[in-house]
Amino acid sequence: MEFAIVSTLNGVTYGLLLFMVSAGLTLIFGMMGVLNFAHASFYMLGAYVAYAVSSAFGFLAGLVVAPILVGIVGMLVERFLLPRVHAHGHAHELLLTFGLALIIEELIKLFFGDFPVNYQMPGDLRFSAFTIFGSDYPFYRLFIGGMAVVMFALLWLLLTRTRTGIVVRAAERLPAMAEALGHNIPVVFMAVFGTGAALAGLAGAVAGAFYPTNPNMGIELGVIVFVVVVVGGLGSLKGSLLASLLIGLFSSFAVGLDWSLAGLFGLVGLGDWARAIGGLMTLKLSSVSATIPFALMLLVLLVRPAGLMGERN
């Protein structure tokens, strides 16, 4: 019971963090069809901006400035870089953002050095929210989770319940028609891209204080964020949330389970034989816990190629 409760709690908060980072990516893909490889770099940029700002003006200032600045960077990218390759299709946009990711990483190293920087949450937030089965549960984990929930609610309401949302969705479906009705489509797209980047920046500012802020944080989270978006269904906000939570929970539970194929064979009396073979048979689930999201992605792609909540199933 203790294992189940602690693992669920850890899995849900980690899943919400994943959602926070992948929300912007989903938004950009869903609304504009651009698969933004530099998304995780925006996340890293957010953490570094927040670090730089917070060391002078305090943690909260960092939390406010980071998304704004990263959002502006995102808008500039959308305004000046993407249109140049847009006519050549998705592959070129992907390559452009891939190059951008490399450039951002090296720039970060140039300005902030190769080592992790000392970006810390303020002491006021460093306390345990409650004690569960004898271990403290850090408040900041709940803070991250809460931010993600608020982010989801706001985005969802914005897109489905407001006039702005209607214009954005119209711009995605029938850009020519929306333009004919007097909406400035390039500005809409620029705003969407900027918002997506700003969300990544905010996630970086929040998570960077909990996890180390280093020049590799983009690569480390980048891959898993793509897995989230693919599993959830490209462009589906709800799908992203579901996929993030699933991946969080799977990873969390897998760590505690020393299951192996040999154990499975043991159920039918072939355990000793399987253990004698070794290799893959005795590989424990816990030692491959970080691989589980990829296995999940494979499974989802085989069964539902468009993802759990993708539209084109």
């Binding site: 602690v6 980690y14 963090l17 080592f115 000392n118 900041y140 020049p215 424990k284 491959v288």
Partner: protein, 409 residues
């Protein structure tokens, strides 16, 4: 026609000019871009510092020692590529430290190169690849390891922590699931009897892919250990320590890479009281080397810089016994001289074990304290030496798998 004649004349003059002495060429094949840049850069810094020291003392073979950096971008295939380039550039000795996987690639490349190019051998000085196989199945005459291995670090930690009463009787092992982590886990199991502890749990996990260590901390808590042994480095160590601190779990960490820059600052007060075993720490020496290094580079030696500089100093001692009279450089003779050298490093003597080319070297065990002599990462915390375990106590027997073929055999 006229031009051809001029060219011929020019080359005749060039050929007739007195032959210059052949300089010793050193190649650093290191991770200078990509995820391991921070570590690779430090190895390269230290090698360059060491070469400067050799050149200040007059160089070698009548010429300054030349050093070239090759960026392997953190991958073994690129390293193999850069090795070919280094050979084409006439490099005699290569250095690498940031990765065991790359060390494995390079030592094989060096072995094959030397079989095919007798008389033009290349030597590999391994500054940080700690995988046991490098001095086991893959051991060879032209590879030298100038760093510790998992059993040396674990034995030193057990030894010092037990003497200090910080070890306890229940030990947990959490390590990365590849050669290094597996070596650590085996070493922790092997030292159980001498350390008088029971291994209450062990887990291997993916390397630097895990963002959330809270589930692992839950596992550790369930096993209720006194001490947690981990060979984790980079994010895997930092995230593990932070998650443990956040959960309020009261355990002592016995680590191998806690001194990686940024770790102490990021971990904050959580780091206090944890142990590390490594090759060198400023606080364990008389401070002379640290000051010299600072005068030359602008900062005290950190992380791997100290022991890497000592490797060059030991190489210098070996070179001092040789004289090629300005003629061709014989790498085999350098290797033989290095085998016979003993270098008195600031933390104790280091020598090469001929059977497997592992160096017999002291291991420094330190503990994180407040207000140390040499603060880490601009904080008020740093390392205090607990014990310097001399080389002969730290070393382990030669592995049976090492069948070294010596030159001329």
């Amino acid at each position: 026609m006229h031009r051809l004649a001029f060219l011929a004349a020019a080359s005749a003059v060039a050929l007739a000019a007195p032959a210059q002495a052949e300089p010793l060429k050193i190649g650093i094949i290191e991770s200078l871009s990509g995820a391991q840049t921070s570590t690779g850069r430090l190895y390269a810094n230290a090698v360059e510092y060491g070469v400067d020291q050799i050149n200040k003392a007059g160089g070698f073979n009548g010429e300054p020692v030349q050093v070239t950096e090759y960026d392997n971008a953190g991958g073994a295939p690129e390293a193999a590529d850069k090795f070919r380039q280094a050979v084409a550039d006439g490099v005699d000795i290569i250095f690498q430290g940031a990765s065991s996987a790359i060390a494995g690639q390079l030592t094989e490349d060096v072995r094959k190169h030397n079989i095919r190019n007798a008389g033009h051998e290349v030597m590999f000085i391994n500054l940080g690849g700690e995988a046991m196989e490098l001095t086991g199945e893959k051991c060879q005459f032209y590879h030298f390891r100038f760093t510790t291995t998992a059993p040396m670090r674990v034995n030193a930690l057990v030894n010092a922590m037990k003497a200090d009463g910080d070890l306890g009787t229940k030990v947990y092992s959490i390590n990365q699931n590849y050669s290094w982590g597996q070596d650590m886990q085996k070493a922790v199991e092997a030292a159980a009897d001498t350390g008088g502890y029971e291994v209450v749990g062990e887990v291997l996990h993916d390397v630097n892919k895990i963002q959330d260590f809270a589930p692992f901390v839950a596992r550790i808590k369930a096993a209720a250990p006194d001490t947690v042994f981990t060979g984790n480095w980079s994010n895997d160590l930092l995230l593990l320590m932070k998650a443990t601190g956040d959960a309020g779990l009261d355990v002592t960490f016995a680590t191998a890479f806690l001194d990686q820059p940024g770790n102490i600052a990021n971990a904050g007060k959580t780091a206090i009281g944890h142990y590390i075993a490594n090759n060198y720490d400023n606080a364990a020496s008389d401070g002379k080397f640290a000051e010299d290094y600072k005068a030359a580079t602008g900062h005290y030696p950190i992380f791997v810089e100290g022991h890497s500089a000592f490797a060059l100093a030991q190489l210098k001692q070996a070179l001092d016994t040789l004289d090629f009279g300005g003629g061709e450089i014989d790498v085999t003779k350098i290797a033989l001289a290095l085998e016979d050298s003993t270098y008195d490093s600031p933390v104790g003597p280091s020598s090469v074990r001929k059977a497997d080319h592992q160096t017999i070297r002291p291991v420094v065990v330190s503990k994180v304290v407040e207000n140390p002599k040499y603060p880490a990462d601009d904080t008020d915390m740093g390392f205090q030496t607990v014990k310097v375990v001399p080389g002969e106590d730290a070393i382990y027997p030669v592995q049976d798998s090492c069948q070294m073929k010596r030159p001329g055999e």
